[in-house]
């Protein structure tokens, strides 16, 4: 068997962007320090050299302006890919994204479209503290007109960025700082991973674990550990949070009778509630053998101290613990 080509998540994104830009002149990048600096996490490194300053645009520190620039360009025939340096800073772009990008099409009676992608890294784990570690994806899930994508692997990162850029709607593309250096198989030829296609990452029979972003690999590690105990987790990665393809989740819970939703974002008011509510309202309800549980970020800002930071969000151990409890009925 030939060896599979591996790339990091950051490289996979870069390759995806490079291919898109080479194919389509309408695609351009805009954000803070994405040019000569290559982006705070290096995703756009080298693209300035290849495509020039007109297509890899460094901006002043003006996050509302960046969002607006994407919207205006998208409305007039371009396909912008914006970058918000840390997801936290998108708090400064909310008006443009939520009241403009998301609504323009509907408000104009379906007569305009805003084909833009806004990339942003979320998540904790780098000691960047409370203002550089947000996981705000559920805000966007709550906004009609937006799509929300959250790749968990290099393969999906490359395939989803392509699908996101091809989509004619504003897509919030949430990356994770800790994933950038993770490696995985990535084919060189361009490919799309369709939006709104939930993936069963691991099959199992005892408990359905719905996990997003960095939590997918942690859930898989937890599944490995629990397999030794004879507990088989089915791990599901929605990949696109909005619109959500919930059928595979419902089917899975019908099979396992148990569900645990795992994400890094704060539990209260988070995406986990949406998944739980979909399950609890569905025909899977009749198959439930245990309460549906969430395992997610504590209701505190992300602390600086490494040990506190670690304990603020789900880790492999805590997933193992929660999953075991659910399967064994020890709740």
């Amino acid at each position: 068997m030939p060896e599979l080509r591996e790339l990091t998540y950051a490289e996979a994104l870069r390759e995806g962007l490079r291919q898109l830009m080479a194919e389509d002149e309408r695609v351009f990048l805009i954000g803070e320090d994405i040019g000569v600096y290559g982006g705070a996490f290096g995703v756009t490194a080298g693209l300035l050299d290849q495509f020039g300053a007109e297509r890899v645009i460094d901006t002043p520190i003006s996050e509302a302006g960046i969002a607006g620039a994407c919207i205006g360009a998208a409305l007039t025939g371009m396909r912008p890919v914006g970058e918000i340096q840390f997801m936290d800073f998108v708090t400064l772009s909310m008006e443009q994204l939520v009241l403009q990008a998301a609504k323009v099409r509907f408000m104009f009676g379906g007569k305009a479209s805003v084909p833009m992608v806004l990339r942003m890294p979320g998540g904790s784990g780098t000691g960047a503290a409370a203002q550089h570690s947000e996981s705000l994806e559920n805000w966007f899930v709550h906004v009609p007109g937006l799509k929300v994508v959250m790749p968990s692997t290099p393969y999906d990162a490359k395939g989803l960025i392509r699908a996101a850029v091809a989509d004619n709607n504003p897509v919030i593309f949430v990356e994770h700082k800790l994933l950038y250096k993770t490696k995985g198989h990535v084919p060189e030829a361009p490919y799309s991973v369709p939006l709104s296609q939930t993936q069963i990452v691991r099959e199992g029979t005892h408990l359905t674990v719905v996990a997003t972003s960095i939590m997918v690999s942690r859930a898989l590690q937890a599944a490995e550990q629990l397999a030794d105990e004879g507990i088989q987790l089915e791990v599901i990665d929605p990949r696109t949070l909005k619109p959500l393809d919930d059928a595979p989740i419902i089917e899975s819970v019908k099979k396992t009778g148990r569900a645990l939703v795992v994400h890094e974002a704060v539990e209260m008011g988070g995406f986990g509630g949406e998944v739980v509510a979909r399950i609890a309202a569905s025909e899977a309800f009749d198959y439930l053998e245990a309460p549906i549980r969430r395992l997610a970020g504590l209701d505190i800002p992300i602390p600086y101290n490494r040990e506190l930071e670690y304990h603020t969000v789900p880790q492999v151990e805590s997933i193992v613990r929660e999953a075991r409890k659910l399967v064994k009925g020890e709740y």
């Binding site: 620039a69 360009a73 025939g77 403009q100 104009f108 379906g110 305009a112 009609p144």
Partner: protein, 336 residues
């Protein structure tokens, strides 16, 4: 009729010559149409025939008309909540505007947008905006896109005095400046942001002074004079088209009506309003000018208002005969 000095006419000589009589007449007619539209809109509102709110630009017609006439086919428009005049001046169909105002399926936005969101994407009118300063950062993207597509277009973005205190104004003007984008920022200073007078919201004389903070040219003109607005916007658009970048134009004008439907106007005196109406009305003044300049006769001037009203009567009829959107289609048009 008001008096207008020969002197003033002299000053306008060039611009009157360059526009020519037909265009001038059309401009006046369009100003009447805007006013007739909005007077009817207010009436319909009073009669309970529309729901929601509206922001009337009665008294500000000169800015809309002066600016729109300074732009070319293919240029882009972004405007704001007080936008009926801007849309109409851009050439929007009164029928479809009125239908939108009345929430009908035949309206520009299929009744989904209403007064604050009228857009006509086919004519590059990228829409009114319910958010103060909401369109300003979008203009940056339009400007970038024009540059990248290497067309010869210009983007006109219109906003109020109040909008100039939003952070978005700042970010956008700076970006437009450093990238030399083809944008005309037009601040329609009608003296108030809702109840907030410009004197309290700004510690500067003219909002156009802010242009210097970004290295942009800024100019303040009489917003009740369509030709002054026309000249300033023409120059700014020409500069943009030459690749020299953005400008900030401030047009000083005045709104006669309340901010929106439910404004007691406790923040200003009746005398102040009357003074603007009696002494600086843009329609009266412009009609006067055109008569004195021999472009139209007094008799012609006298019929224009009625003509406008007739057009609006038709628009109302069109709208009232138009269907409401169907609830069955409620989920339409969110995603492309």
């Amino acid at each position: 009729m008001m008096q207008l000095s020969q002197d003033l006419i002299q000053r306008y000589h060039d611009v009157i010559e360059s526009l020519g009589p037909e265009a001038l007449k059309e401009m006046l007619q369009a100003m009447h149409l805007i006013r007739a539209f909005e007077e009817r809109a207010e009436q319909l509102y009073m009669l309970g025939k529309v729901h929601g709110t509206m922001h009337l630009s009665i008294g500000q017609e000169a800015t809309a008309i002066g600016a729109a006439n300074a732009m070319q086919d293919g240029d882009y428009l972004l405007n704001h909540h007080r936008g009926h005049g801007h849309c109409m001046a851009w050439g929007s169909d009164p029928n479809r505007m009125m239908a939108e105002f009345m929430g009908r399926e035949t309206g520009y936005c299929r009744g989904r947008g209403g007064s604050m969101h009228i857009a006509d994407v086919d004519s590059n009118n990228l829409g009114a905006n319910g958010i103060v300063a909401g369109g300003i950062p979008i203009a940056v993207g339009v400007g970038l896109s024009i540059k990248m597509r290497r067309t010869n277009q210009v983007c006109l973005v219109i906003f109020g005095d109040g909008a100039a205190n939003e952070g978005a104004f700042h970010e956008a003007l700076n970006m437009a400046s450093i990238w030399a984008l083809p944008i005309v920022f037009l601040c329609e200073n009608n003296q108030y942001a809702m109840s907030m007078p410009v004197e309290k919201a700004f510690n500067i004389e003219n909002i156009s002074q802010r242009a210097a903070a970004y290295g942009l040219p800024g100019i303040t003109v009489d917003g009740n004079d369509p030709l002054a607005v026309y000249s300033a916007v023409s120059e700014a658009a020409a500069r943009a088209r030459r690749g020299e970048g953005a400008s900030l134009v401030e047009a000083k004008t005045y709104r006669y009506k309340g901010h929106s439907k439910s404004d007691k106007q406790a923040y200003r005196s009746r005398e102040e309003v009357r003074d603007w109406q009696d002494n600086r009305d843009p329609i009266l003044r412009f009609a006067n000018l055109l008569v004195l300049a021999g472009v139209i006769t007094e008799a012609e001037a006298a019929t224009m208002r009625d003509q406008a009203i007739a057009t609006i009567d038709e628009a109302v009829e069109f709208s009232e005969n138009s269907p409401e959107p169907s609830v069955a289609d409620i989920l339409d048009g969110v995603y492309a």
